[in-house]
């Protein structure tokens, strides 16, 4: 399979604090990779580096095989990456991002939220963008709310609009930053189902999540992030069911302290 995203020795620090170190990761076309880990392990920082909402302080990022930025050698002989804002805008337009807090534009309808990118960046006409918005709102099952403002939608509906907004740019990879963490428990399912549908349709996805059930059922690969490094990596079965490293085991023990039998209800 062709590679969509490759991170080489990616590092990010804020002053003295090193949040990410030496991250090596390849995501292939059609693959869903879930990133799990404790708060502060660098999960969100990792996603933010991939679409340059935060600038990496070390390492290289390849999108569809192409190096982002250019390498220069500074006076002390170290190689450093330089990024141009125009190039980063183009990169961001090819990387879809879904935020924990949805961040829909409140002064625009659901449809307008989805249309703005295709119109302003891809240069689609209003009519073309409207058709494209309808297509992607349909994919996440929220076409009937096209004319609603974000303030009139539930959290789950807003998040699905936000997913459609990212999809409408037809990105090569979709990033999800704890997309269900801010939702009422009851609304988590509808968003996860929409995400699973995308994964099944072959969307390339890098998903930061606390929903281990989702990771187990949907991910091709799971990555456990600890103190800014990839601590354990493998199939969902390997990482979530048979973790080898003590730190991964501790994490899973903490998350699954209490269990209950599956409710006797029909699945969605």
């Amino acid at each position: 399979m062709t590679e969509v995203l490759r991170l080489e020795n990616l590092a990010k620090s804020y002053g003295q604090a090193q949040v990410l170190k030496d991250i090596n990761l390849t995501v292939r076309k059609g693959e869903t990779v879930c990133v799990i880990g404790a708060s502060g392990s660098g999960k969100s920082t990792l996603l933010r580096c991939v679409n340059f909402l935060g600038y990496p302080t070390g390492g290289r990022i390849f999108l569809e095989g192409k190096l982002v930025g250019r390498e220069v050698i500074d006076r002390s002989g170290r190689t450093e990456m330089r990024y141009r804002e125009a190039e980063l805008c183009a990169v961001r337009a090819h990387v879809g991002m879904v935020f924990q807090q949805f961040n829909l534009f409140p002064h625009m309808t659901a449809e307008e939220n989805v249309m703005i990118g295709p119109v302003k960046i891809r240069g689609l006409s209003k009519a073309e963008a409207k058709a494209r918005a309808a297509e992607h709102l349909q994919r996440v099952g929220i076409l009937e709310k096209a004319g609603a403002y974000p303030g009139q939608l539930s959290g789950g509906q807003q998040q699905r609009v936000a997913i459609a907004r990212a999809l409408a740019m037809e990105p090569s990879i979709m990033l999800f930053d704890e997309a269900t963490s801010a939702l009422d428990p009851e609304l988590v399912g509808e968003v996860l189902l929409a995400m699973r549908k995308l994964a099944q349709e072959g969307t390339t996805m890098l998903v930061v999540t606390h929903e281990l059930g989702f990771a187990y059922n949907v991910a091709h690969r799971v990555i456990f992030l600890h103190e800014g490094t990839i601590h354990e990596e493998g199939t969902p079965e390997e990482v979530l069911v048979n973790p080898k490293k003590p730190r991964t085991q501790d994490f899973l023990r903490g998350v699954t302290t209490f269990r209950m039998p599956e409710p006797r209800i029909a699945p969605a």
């Binding site: 679409n51 909402l53 804002e85 125009a86 805008c89 183009a90 990169v91 961001r92 337009a93 090819h94 990387v95 879809g96 991002m97 935020f99 807090q101 961040n103 829909l104 534009f105 409140p106 002064h107 703005i116 990118g117 302003k120 960046i121 403002y149 303030g151 936000a162 907004r165 990212a166 740019m169």
Partner: protein
């Protein structure tokens, strides 16, 4: 006190006062619209990443905001012509001074309005791939402007009153017209009372419009939709 109030003479001078009021209105309209435009430019400057632009914005705002309006007018009428060697009219000097004055206050309103838009909005706009100018134009400003409306309303009222400063340059706005009438008729108390009544009558509806808008903006959580 046995002062005999007499407003009757003013009726005959109504057209004169109306002429003054129209000049006040013209000065207000020019200074407010150009002040909003100047304020937009400098207000955005104060929010951009570039330190140089932010510095320029800050110098402008602080220099103008901390100078009495009266001195600005006098300076543009008497001092600037000496420096550039071209005599300006009272009208032009008043327009320029009051525009810059309003611009400095508006810049602060824009800056605060822009700063009030959540970081997540900028991020979401960036994440789609919008350029900085597009983020500002389509995402941030439309939301910020709604929150600025009440503040701009107050500025409009303040400016209307500040136009009377132009009377010191002998520009024929309402207060200057009133001064001339007062001296001519030896009735300053009645004349200036009339001026204050006229100002109140004109500005009261504007005040109420501001209060109404403020309530509407508050009710919709900062978003006015239609």
């Amino acid at each position: 006190m046995s002062y005999a109030w007499d407003f009757n003479f003013l009726w005959a001078l109504g057209p004169l006062l109306l002429g003054g009021l129209i000049n006040t209105g013209k000065l207000w309209a020019i200074a407010f619209s150009s002040g909003l435009a100047i304020g937009l430019a400098f207000g955005i400057m104060r929010t951009v990443p570039s330190r140089i632009l932010r510095g320029i914005g800050m110098v402008y705002v602080e220099a103008i905001r901390n100078t009495p309006g009266l001195i600005l007018l006098i300076w543009f009428y008497y001092a600037l012509p000496i420096l550039v060697g071209v005599q300006s009219s009272a009208w032009l000097a008043a327009c320029v001074a009051l525009s810059l004055y309003t611009g400095a206050y508006s810049a602060e309103i824009y800056r605060a309005g822009i700063a009030s838009v959540e970081a997540g909005q900028w991020e979401a706009a960036r994440a789609i791939g919008l350029s900085y100018a597009h983020q500002m134009r389509y995402i941030v400003l439309p939301q910020a402007v709604m929150r600025m409306i009440p503040a701009f309303g107050n500025r409009a009222i303040e400016l209307a009153k500040a136009t009377t400063l132009a009377s010191t340059l002998a520009f024929g706005e309402l207060l200057f017209t009133a001064k001339v009438i007062a001296e001519d008729q030896f009735r300053p108390l009645e004349t200036f009372t009339a001026v204050s009544v006229i100002f109140t009558a004109v500005l009261l509806p504007l005040s109420y419009a501001c209060i109404w808008l403020e309530r509407r903006v508050a009710r919709s959580g900062g978003i006015v939709r239609d």
